[in-house]
């Protein structure tokens, strides 16, 4: 267990500076050398005063998920925070404003809801803010300062982070926020602590550790991989990918265009991919639904293109600011016909970076659309990561025209040993060819004979099969106990972090347990999954959808029986919930063994 393991939830209303306070906390603690995983929940409505929560887990050793219960809850708005008091663990702390501005009816103040086993810490946030800055709007900085002072967090790291955050604005803004922070810090330092929350020393860390969320890591991966053109249409939670690339890509000679809709975005991306540019788009489930027709064109025309998809609660407009993993079917199967494509699902922020870069390699190597499937939790989850930029992505893995025998007429869709055809870029001498969404022969000319369709369909499927062995990409990985185990977990996407933590805890309880992450959902590493299942008495598949889409996928492909564990709460999977299932299965196995022995 790590020396430091503190989870802090800051809860307020939109406009309270909740997310900003969480962001400063994350960056400051990462700057000080701690590991941080963070996730923000915010309202779907652009206007209004919806609930915001910034949740951060600060540790000295690497962890893989947020905890089910926080150690500290900071209330910037009791109206929202009261509902989250039960999420604070016993002997955890609740920090709140004890000098609100208006008269309250009984029960409207958070102190009425703090459980006997929790510890109340009140401070006059508004008054301290007004004293420090002549305004009440720095309450979030006061609260942050109090939190930092209470637990002896490094003040300097906060000062630097606050100053950095307001860089470029009037100096008085940064100074005011630092003063408000210091006012809170002094109060926190002087407070009599009754909880048992301890901040251990910061671990040694590589100097290049930075706080980053999944979407930012996607952008970093795109930049590192040499993305040249990006087309997008805003949609939560993928919008920030478009925004960040719009700011950065043109500076490196790339181009970004916000199109009129998602169909145009993928159409343009396929067009750019056809011309040989590294091209991508980003969207969410509803956008992907619109893109599926063009996606089919990409498959049929064998055009490299990358589509980043961040899932949210659905169907339809659904829950734009809540997380879910319910677009797996759409990503793997969506569209008309047998439209085989490659689908990657990173499991953490660093994985987003690697998958983004490798997606371009795969798209080129196998001449097909590649979907990188995230979800809101992973898109917005902040982690301290290091080593980004050290990964080198291949600049061009395309099997080019030089692979074609010079004396033969060029066939764009020639059947080869590895099913991948030499690809000519439009304008390349000797590479003239036809491309169409119609079924076609090896020349690319429309042809729909039974033999052609059978052959070309097989080509489009067979050519991507080796993708599961792509260099420097873990398409699956096993963790935990080796050999035969009682309970095995198979998880994908953001849920894998919770599955891994649950598995580690189960092992610490004496349960023989292992976990497998599956990053490549299409083509699926069938043999590896089958082999893993063979080692497990019981297999548990936790995922954030109702249908058990991944469980269906893997049982269909492998024939393995699994236990499904599905949640559609709009929130990340809880470690405790998975752990409960592991314990239940382990108990059943134990009982069976006793029965057999008897």
């Amino acid at each position: 267990m790590s020396d430091t393991d503190i989870q802090i939830a800051i809860c307020g209303s939109a406009g309270d500076g909740t997310i900003a306070a969480g962001s400063i906390l994350n960056q400051a603690m990462a700057r000080a050398g701690y590991k941080v995983i963070a996730f923000d929940v915010y309202p779907a409505e652009i206007r209004g005063f919806g609930e915001c929560i910034a949740c951060s887990r600060i540790t000295s050793a690497q962890v893989f998920s947020l905890k089910g219960q926080s150690d500290v809850l900071v209330s910037l708005n009791d109206g929202h925070a009261i509902a989250h008091v039960p999420e604070v663990r016993d002997y955890g702390a609740v920090i709140y404003d004890d000098a609100p501005i208006s008269t309250l009816k009984e029960g409207q103040h958070i102190s009425a809801h703090i459980k006997p086993a929790q510890l109340p810490y009140g401070l006059p946030m508004r008054e301290l803010s007004e004293r420090a800055t002549s305004a009440a709007k720095s309450r979030n900085m006061v609260a942050l300062g109090y939190l930092a002072g209470l637990y002896g967090m490094p003040r300097k790291a906060f000062h630097e982070t606050i100053t950095g955050k307001f860089k470029g604005k009037a100096a008085a803004i940064a100074e005011g926020n630092v003063q408000a922070f210091d006012a809170g810090y002094a109060e926190g330092e002087a407070a009599f602590r009754l909880d048992f929350i301890e901040l251990g020393p910061a671990p040694e860390t590589s100097s290049d550790a930075v706080m980053m969320n999944g979407n930012t890591a996607i952008v970093e991966g795109c930049m590192e991989a040499g993305l040249e053109t990006f087309f997008g249409y805003p949609i939560t939670p993928a919008t920030t990918i478009l925004e960040m690339l719009a700011a950065r890509l043109p500076k490196q000679g790339g181009r970004v265009l916000q199109t009129e809709d998602e169909i145009a975005a993928i159409g343009a991306a396929i067009g750019a991919g056809y011309t040989g540019a590294r091209a991508a788009t980003a969207t969410s489930g509803p956008g992907l639904a619109l893109m599926t027709e063009m996606l089919g064109l990409g498959v049929m025309a064998e055009v490299p293109v990358v589509i980043f998809v961040s899932q949210r609660g659905g169907p339809s407009t659904g829950m734009p600011t809540k997380t879910e993993q319910s677009d797996l079917n759409l990503a793997v199967f969506g569209g008309s016909g047998d439209a085989k494509r490659i689908v990657l699902a990173p499991t953490n922020v660093e994985g987003c970076y690697r998958c983004a870069g490798r997606a371009f390699e795969l798209a080129e190597q196998y001449q097909t659309p590649v979907i990188v499937l995230l979800d809101l939790y992973l898109s917005n989850r902040l982690e301290s990561v290091s080593g980004l930029g050290k990964t080198r992505f291949a600049p061009n893995l395309s099997k080019g025209l030089d692979a074609w025998a010079p004396n033969e007429a060029y066939q764009r869709f020639a059947i080869t040993d590895d099913w991948v055809s030499p690809r000519a870029i439009p304008g390349e001498p000797g590479g003239i060819h036809t491309v169409t969404g119609l079924e076609h022969n090896q020349l690319g000319r429309p042809k729909d004979t039974p033999e052609i369709h059978q052959l070309m369909t097989e080509k489009r499927h067979q050519k991507v099969a080796p993708a599961i062995r792509h260099a420097d990409l873990s398409t699956y990985k096993r963790f935990g106990d080796e050999g035969e185990v009682d309970v095995g977990l198979i998880a994908w996407g953001s849920t894998f972090g919770e599955a891994l933590e649950a598995m580690l805890q189960a092992r610490s309880e004496g349960i023989r347990c292992a976990a497998m992450k599956v990053v490549m959902l299409s083509p699926l590493p069938v043999d590896a999954i089958r082999s893993f299942c063979a080692d497990c008495r019981e297999v548990l598949v936790p995922e954030l959808n109702y249908q058990g889409q991944f469980a269906n996928l893997l049982t269909g492909a492998t024939g393995c029986e699994v236990h499904r564990f599905n949640r559609v709460t709009g929130r990340p999977m809880q470690v405790e919930d998975i752990l409960g299932e592991i314990r239940r299965l382990a108990k059943v196995i134990k009982t069976e063994r006793r029965f057999v022995a008897a």
């Binding site: 609100p100 008269t103 409207q108 102190s111 006997p116 009754l194």
Partner: protein, 343 residues
Amino acid sequence: MAAPAHHVIIGNGVAGNHAAWVLRARAPDDRITIITIGALLFYDRYQLPQVFRGKHDWRAYLVHPPSYYEQNRIAVRRKCRVTHVDAERRVLTLAHREEVKYDTLLIASGGGGYLPANLIEYRPLFHSFNTFRAAMATARALPEEGTVIMLGGDILGIDVAYNLVDTGHRVLLVPHEQSFWPHKVDPSERPQLFEALSGAGIEVVDEAPVERIEAGENGAPARRVVLADGRELTGDVIMPFYGLAPALEFIARSGVDIERGLLVNPELKSTDAHIWAAGDVCQIWSADENAYRFYYGWKNVKAMGELAARNMTGSEQPFQTFIDETLTVDRAGRLHSSFWDYD
């Protein structure tokens, strides 16, 4: 169907918590709320001297586990200071502007340490022992074998002094007319009692008024007490023990009768039909003495809390004390106060 009655108790000590227990037993469906300015649940203050023996985890002092309050549906509003009681509307206001309605109100807010007027300006230089936090602050300020200058020496202070001596500390006691409070000690008996204290290792200095108190700097002892006759005492902490003053500021404008404490009849009811009082905060009418008087000590306070709860739920029993308020010196030469007795 009428809403269940809401019984509010101000104070989280012996009286308040025993009242809550009786209320729950007698009114299973009613709401019960304890309001306290402290951050902790009900803890055993009589055990606080254990901080000098290294018992620093507050959980070890709790009388009930946290689950007790949930199981018995007793809400404990901690870190809440009552600023006003509106007896007419039956509403009390908390410092954070929250209004809480009550059907019956029990004032069991206890008392704070009394300070003579000439010492009030030195308050920042004092250490106290009335809460876990204060006890911990004292323990942390006091080095091993350190010296405590105890002013006054009421009976609570003398209990602390014994513990300090037993844990290897030096105690200098500056007597005062409040020494041994709330015991009424005849002046002729004081020398024998002080002798008993000396016998236990407590250094009793000759009585003299305190002239001034100073904080030490630059390596000097942390605290210095200058007496009116010119003598100087040095130590690490100064602890005043001059008896208790009822904590009643919040109810001063509510219309109930107050003298030094909140005045109640023998049934512990105040001059307001919905307000009762129990513990160190109240003065109870004594027909025998034809006066209102205080009753101290754990057993009295517990009995008052339980009685108030019964009377709040329909009984009309008068308070009777069975405690012999005696201060004796046992065969071993050690003082014994009946106020130190508790179950």
